[in-house]
Symmetry: C2
Subunit: 416 residues, 2 copies
């Protein structure tokens, strides 16, 4: 198997001082994998001439195609364009199509006069092929040198994505050797990474060298991933499916789903397939569970709403939890979440409901109910199941784990 | 100025196929900056022996201290430990402290018998200094070679963070030359990047070479950042503050805050300082605004709750929006959000309230109300301000922009 690798260089001081988390690379990697291009390397450098230049030299030693994102803005801290112009022995010239596009954005869409800095956006090195950017003023650029391809894209995520999807990805297969990359993922719950590895020991030993196995533990669950790379797509699919099924059978007692799907997408699919609905009553998660559910397109088919009863007065006034329950058992108690789940289901008239109440920290913990203590209830028209947890992480992770576990309890309730 | 640079190598195929977004590096960079260590480079490589080896060689040419995260799990896909053992000419040996710690986790905390794979976690190369990991079974490791320092940490974020905060960061200043790194950030709204650059043209020209300026446009706002690096802390602070104030005065009409603070943290601070409270009534954002507000520790002091009225029936039944309003004007209308804001404020008895209703896509748009169309209302006891937007991005970004703009309207209402 002889295939071309890609490399991604992201540019910007903000990436090196931690002001911004790079989400572009993950998206690009996924899309490139789909058309059979593997990433060898990802590297982030600052807005520093020598560092960018060195990165271009280094990455082109290792990869056939080098993606460069960021540093294309109109301001003086953005040096990618003049650098690429020099690196590829070009001269800056006005690109007429880009100029028309930029002018149109300012005069017709923003209805603002342009300034010189905006016009500069239409300048490109004369050694590049312009990659149209319908979503912004900075065009993408492609250069070819010594048999290598360099693609420069803006760092603004929706602009980068538009150019990738509409210009770059359709063009690449004619430019580079691609292969087939197949991933298969099993999501498991209720078993640790090392015990899972022990369980599938024989299946792992049986794997041929072209199929790689990886474990990804997260939020108390473990994803097990098989990856196969090869030229014959049909044979590759057959082979990976064969091994994947063997793993699937072995982990069946812990299996959540045999796809790389987040829990809230899975919940959405299960409810939609069954024509059922859900609502949530959230205290400590503050609307995060509702947010996860509604981040999926089409959620209105199965999600009706939520009461975020952060303050105890809302538990009483909106969710009809008696003050006496809160006084006797506390807001973080099985009794309270049972009533929250029962009542929100009735108020919103849904098939299922989720209720959570807990202490996410850093403050608010007591000896009896420490930070991380959570009660979760899931109700349907027949029964209410409850469970308590003690997560003891930081606030962000406690919220995340509460949401994931609540959704997992809902999944179990839906599947019976 | 003569200072030591750091480099971060993150290891894992999941980073190169886009299955996981790397949030570790940003956090590490922030913490290292605080103690005066700059990151020169960040690089991600797969679970591939030669690629990791090559990265260690390369990064140690450029940096004094090399951080390595990931690949320390107990399963066979994790090869960082054997590789580091070989790279630093060591032999694996049992570390007694780690063994006691791992044994304790299994027998006392998890109450499960250990298997051989778990014991393997206590093995470390005899050429390393063990870095204690109280949060997990994989210890961190430090190696020194040819005057360079290599620090290997687990990829699980809360384990990495614990070792960094408790072991690595306290130790580093005695091992490497640090300097002072000062960042100052202005958050502006209502002005584009190029117009902002035009506005501060003179201030930019006046900057001395040791102060760098950067523009970070995001969600319709622009952050303007000054960064100064130097050995004399006091002089550095004075100098950067001087220039920072000049920028601040110039952008005053667009200034949101003169700190690098997300909008929801700022809202929290404003409300807390004033002893005021807020509630939200969310349709299209599905609880995301409530989630942002409650992601801040101590939010219970000023946030009482939210009604996520995703389905129209909830707008009527819980938020008392008359069916006739929904029928006449539609759910996405000024009339509807006014009533949602007014009523949720009364139901929750808060000083302020936010209401949003819109079409986030990809489906549900019409010619009259396209995807991205949003109405936002913010109420206090005297008035209700409203605004409509047409974002026209993808679902995720439309939700994000709706939330940010709603919080910005709340900010304006709070500040009068």
């Amino acid at each position: 198997m002889n295939t071309d690798f890609a490399s991604i260089i992201t540019i910007g001081d903000e990436l090196l001082i931690g002001q911004v988390v790079d989400t572009n690379s993950a998206w690009m990697a996924q899309e490139l994998n789909k058309i059979g291009i593997s990433i060898k390397h990802r590297i982030a450098v600052g807005d520093v001439w020598d560092d960018i230049w060195y990165a271009l030299d280094e990455e082109s030693k290792q990869a056939k195609i080098i993606f460069i994102t960021g540093g294309l803005g109109p301001t003086s801290d953005d040096i990618t364009k003049p650098l690429l112009c020099k690196y590829f022995d070009g001269k800056l010239k006005i690109d007429e199509d880009t100029l028309a596009h930029v002018t149109n954005i300012f005069l017709d869409v923003l209805k603002r006069p342009m300034i010189d800095l905006n016009l500069k956006q239409a300048e490109v090195p004369d050694t590049c092929t312009v990659l149209r950017n319908d979503k912004g003023t900075a065009p993408g650029m492609m250069f070819e040198k010594n048999g290598k391809i360099f693609i420069s894209l803006p760092g603004v995520p929706h602009e980068m994505k538009w150019i990738m999807s509409n210009v770059v990805l359709p063009m690449l297969p004619s430019k580079v050797k691609t292969t087939n990359i197949e991933h298969r993922t099993l999501l498991t719950a209720g078993i640790g990474e090392s015990f899972l590895a022990e369980l599938v020991k024989e299946e792992e030993i049986a794997l041929p060298p072209q199929i790689k196995l990886a474990y990804l533990p997260n939020s108390g669950m473990v994803r097990l991933r098989l990856t196969a790379i090869g030229d014959n797509k049909e044979m590759l699919s057959k082979q990976i499916n064969l091994y994947f099924n063997a793993f699937k059978i072995k982990v069946k007692d812990y299996l959540v789903i045999d796809e790389d799907l987040p829990m809230h997408s899975l919940i959405g699919r299960l409810l939609k397939d069954r024509g059922q609905t859900v609502s949530t009553a959230e205290s400590c998660t503050g609307g995060y569970i509702a947010h996860l559910i509604t981040s999926i397109p089409g959620a209105s088919a199965y999600f009706k709403g939520s009461v975020v009863s952060y303050d105890n007065s809302i538990k009483t006034s909106v969710l009809d939890v008696p003050e006496s329950t809160l006084e006797t058992f506390g807001a973080v108690s099985e009794e309270t979440v049972i009533l929250m789940a029962k009542n929100v289901r009735e108020i919103m008239q849904t098939d299922f409901s989720i209720a959570v109440s807990g202490i996410m920290g850093p403050d608010g913990g007591t000896v009896e109910k420490p930070v991380g203590k959570v009660w979760i209830a899931v109700a349907n028209n027949k029964e209410i199941s409850t469970k308590s947890f003690e997560f003891r992480y930081n606030r962000e992770r406690n919220i995340e784990l509460t949401a994931i576990n609540a959704l997992n309890m809902l999944r179990i309730a839906i599947c019976g």
